[in-house]
Amino acid sequence: MLRSAAGDRAAFDDLVTRHRERVIALARRYLAAHDDAEDVAQEAFLRLYRGRERYRADAKFSTFLYPIVVNLCIEQSRKRKRRPAAEAAGEEPSGPRSMEPERVALQRDLTARVKGALQRLPENQRIAVLLCRYEGRSYREIAEVLGCTEKAVEAMLYRARQTLSAELDLG
């Protein structure tokens, strides 16, 4: 990132290559839409490039990148209409392709329900869940991205767990 700030385009290209999959995956989980996720990721890297001179060497790169991605996801989510969970799940298959057809169908159904339940979470709770579950971020890192305290993150994840458990009828 420091080399990018000094004008090294190859260094920035390397950053994009290393992080694009995770950024798109995070955006897609948040938005439940593939095309929107790629647009968000593209815009995130554009903003990252524009802000490259503000990057400090003592800062973690993820702390610099994730707030950009998260804010764009929130913006995008507010712009477009919410899609039904079934439509979102139908965009691409998930689950291992070697499973039997009935199990694949069950898996898809569960995935659709989970995605729908995630979509209905409040924004901050959704982000906290995605960053914790899929990015393996600590409470402190999530708090930095969301601009809140660690205690607030703990509370968000706790409430999200209760909501998801009830919605998915997990007992």
């Binding site: 694009r20 869940v129 393996g136 600590s138 767990r161 997990l170 007992g171």
Partner: protein
């Protein structure tokens, strides 16, 4: 460790992001607390339900699109800067042309009672910001300052 503290840290526990000490304290608490054991079981079920893979590498085409948008936005940013400076550029050019040609139109007035002391003041029909760019050889300073010094409208 109290139940309310344990139950708020279960996601961190499952993600493996808690420090060893906190993790150990949670383990010891879970050994003896049925309520927190039930809550941990719930947290695990939710955690496992969230297991769906959205990672798909878009490949080098994505990088090309990123660079296209970066280069395109840099082009627009340059154009915007020129558009913002246009009025200032126009004003400066107009002033330079007028000074070179000596084509300032206006009327010259003197102040009653002491024209020599105050000097001849040329008042053009230009806006103040342009007048301020014309040096007042007789009294020095700028038009705005002259108005302030004389305490009145020199027109």
């Amino acid at each position: 460790m109290r139940c309310v503290v344990v139950q708020r840290k279960l996601e961190g526990y499952l993600a493996g992001t808690l420090d060893g000490r906190t993790r150990g304290a949670i383990d010891r608490h879970l050994d003896t607390c049925a309520s927190c054991q039930a809550e941990m079981a719930k947290a695990r079920r939710v955690w496992e339900c969230l297991e769906f893979d959205e990672a798909l590498d878009p490949g080098p085409a994505f990088n090309r699109r990123v660079w296209a948008s970066i280069d395109s936005s840099a082009l627009h940013a340059g154009g915007s800067a020129i558009r913002r400076l246009r009025p200032t550029i126009a004003l400066t050019c107009a002033t330079a042309v007028a000074v070179l040609l000596g084509g300032v139109t206006g009327r010259e007035i003197g102040r009653a009672g002491d024209p020599a002391a105050r000097g001849a003041r040329v008042v053009a029909e230009w806006p103040v910001e342009m007048l301020d760019r014309v040096p007042l050889d007789s009294v020095g300073g700028t038009y705005s300052r002259l108005v302030a010094d004389t305490g009145g409208d020199v027109r």
